[in-house]
Symmetry: C2
Subunit: 348 residues, 2 copies
């Protein structure tokens, strides 16, 4: 098996920098669109054969170093009794948002049995991968799940989320504990079905001040990673806009920190500490630029990583729907070509 990705997660040396992309199975691919023309996102997530097929699509097309199971970060909310709808142009919508004590009390404390479809999807995908590359499982993190649950969808300022956090810290704690427990169950199902690493997506945590992160979020992410430590797979923790949170995020207990493009990778890694691996951090928009620009920026990130063990190349967020296929292929090629142990070629 190509184990560059798993080695890099453990900060072990590799022959070439491993690369995978968030949303590498997605709308920019015609074969994905063909599936989605017939099935909804939830259908694909919950039909193991379809989830496996979509998971494999980018692996068949590109020499990526990891696959990630096709799923949605909000599936834990659905299992807890909040039906999801995906509205074109608006993203996920939760029609009965969580805003009161009663709403929080009503959320079901589900166990792994609720995620049989995830177990099956991972098993199907693993079988289809046949050991070519490792398979990553994932889930939304408690803060990000809470923000969707409370706002009822995506948000610009997280007003209702913060209002609950600031005015009802007791209720906030109960909500985040419930979410964290379900996330542990969900990720454990994926690991036990064969996921060889898991990523916790705290996509919107960057809207918080460092103090609020430390007080209202960190204990819950710590609980998740502590609960999964014994499973023996690398744990990745990702968020966007986290430049000033990294010092606290490293205390959450993951093996890898995912970075977005709004930090310099070299500075961020120094802040986090070189005992953890880092993943990132090309602006997804760069893939819509001419290839010479992509090359320049890939080299810049590899130069910042400096050949130090423990760098996984990724975008700073998911692949955009309008990304050209060729740009994805070119990016992977540049990472593999220039991400060798000997980086003299890019030091110029």
């Amino acid at each position: 098996m190509n184990d560059r990705f798993l080695k890099a997660c453990r900060a072990e040396p590799v022959d070439r920098t491993p690369v995978w992309f968030m949303r590498q199975a997605g709308r920019y691919m015609p074969e994905y669109q063909a599936i989605r023309a017939k099935y909804s996102i939830l259908d694909v997530c919950k039909t193991p054969e379809l989830a496996a097929e979509v998971t494999l699509q980018p692996i068949q097309r590109f020499p990526l170093d990891a696959a990630i199971i096709f799923a949605d970060i909000l599936l834990p909310l659905e299992a807890m009794g909040l039906p999801l709808a995906f509205v074109e142009g608006k993203g996920p919508v939760i029609r009965s948002p969580v805003r009161s004590e009663r709403d929080v009390a009503r959320l079901a404390a589900v166990t792994g049995d609720a995620f049989l479809y995830a177990d099956q999807a991972v098993r199907h995908a693993k079988q289809a991968l046949a050991g070519r590359v490792p398979l990553i499982g994932f889930a939304g993190a408690p803060f990000t799940l809470a923000s969707y649950a409370i706002e009822g969808g995506s948000s610009r300022d997280y007003f209702l989320t913060k209002r609950l956090m600031f005015t009802r810290p007791d209720l906030w704690r109960i909500l985040l504990s419930k979410l964290a427990n379900v996330v542990v169950e969900y990720l454990r199902v994926q690991i036990r079905a064969g996921a060889q690493a898991v990523q916790l997506f705290d996509s919107w945590v960057g809207c918080l001040s460092p103090r609020d992160y430390e007080e209202y979020v960190l204990p819950h992410t710590q609980h998740i990673f502590a609960s999964l430590k014994g499973e023996g797979v690398p744990l990745i923790y990702f968020g966007t806009g986290t430049a000033a949170l990294l010092k606290w995020m490293r205390k959450a207990g993951s093996d890898v920190i995912g970075l977005d493009w709004r930090v310099q990778l070299d500075e961020a890694w120094q802040t986090i500490g070189y005992d953890l691996a880092v993943q990132g951090n090309l602006d997804p928009m760069v893939l819509c630029a001419p290839t010479r620009e992509i090359e320049r920026r890939v080299k810049d990130i590899l130069r910042q990583a400096g050949g130090r063990p423990g760098h996984i190349f990724n975008l700073g967020h998911g692949v955009l729907p309008s990304t050209p296929i060729d740009a994805v292929a070119a990016t992977i090629e540049y990472v593999h070509r220039f991400g060798t142990l000997d980086r003299t070629s890019i030091l110029a």
Copy 2:
């Protein structure tokens, strides 16, 4: 005159930490809503008597240490030939966005004459203030203006903006130069009419990587501050989500850097350097929390500032429309009560 604000801009010692708020004249005030029930935003901006009246509203109600002229950050775009519309719930809309070489060429290189209404508004407001507190002028910064001009309004990911920047750097440079020149004219008008400080709002610059900021934005902000240095008033540079940009933003040449809540004020100030003043940085959402929470967080920020000369208290972004009036009053009171030279009372 109460000159705490101006002294703090110059990093000189003051008796109490000065405080003002972005959008301190705004929808949270019934007297502002009463004006806006009769007049549009643009009407208020362009009618000197109304602009002055609204500017004074928060000064009459609260013991703030500075007034800021009522205006909109996008007025330079309007002067350049891009009519603005303000759509309820959507913010500003530009119906003929700038996306091609021809669009950029068509933008008028206006001079100060285009801003007679701003000259008059500042003069009226100064007269009404009668020296009670200093008056701040302001404008949007080139990147933020460009993002509205290109996207046609506010944006979540700045896709079109970055695409132009990445694919047509030549055109980008022309566009930002044009914007920077007009911003200089506009701010100069305000200063010469009596504005005692000016703030450049680069509200959305935090969506950029540090490298892109340095390459595509910094030269244009440098041009603005260099052009205004000789006017002899303090220059403030503000953006949100700028944790990893601060090192570069300080090179822009302002006297004060405005911080949002997503950084620790103490760490940010250390990064910027103590020779510059800092302004900030309470999360505006905190004003919707119980007053004991507001007090705790005001104290925390003042503790981080440590009584060092050169801290102006502000929110990390504008006052939210749903903010209770009493919370604004309480915040100002806490800043003045605890923001004394002797901070032993808050060190516990």
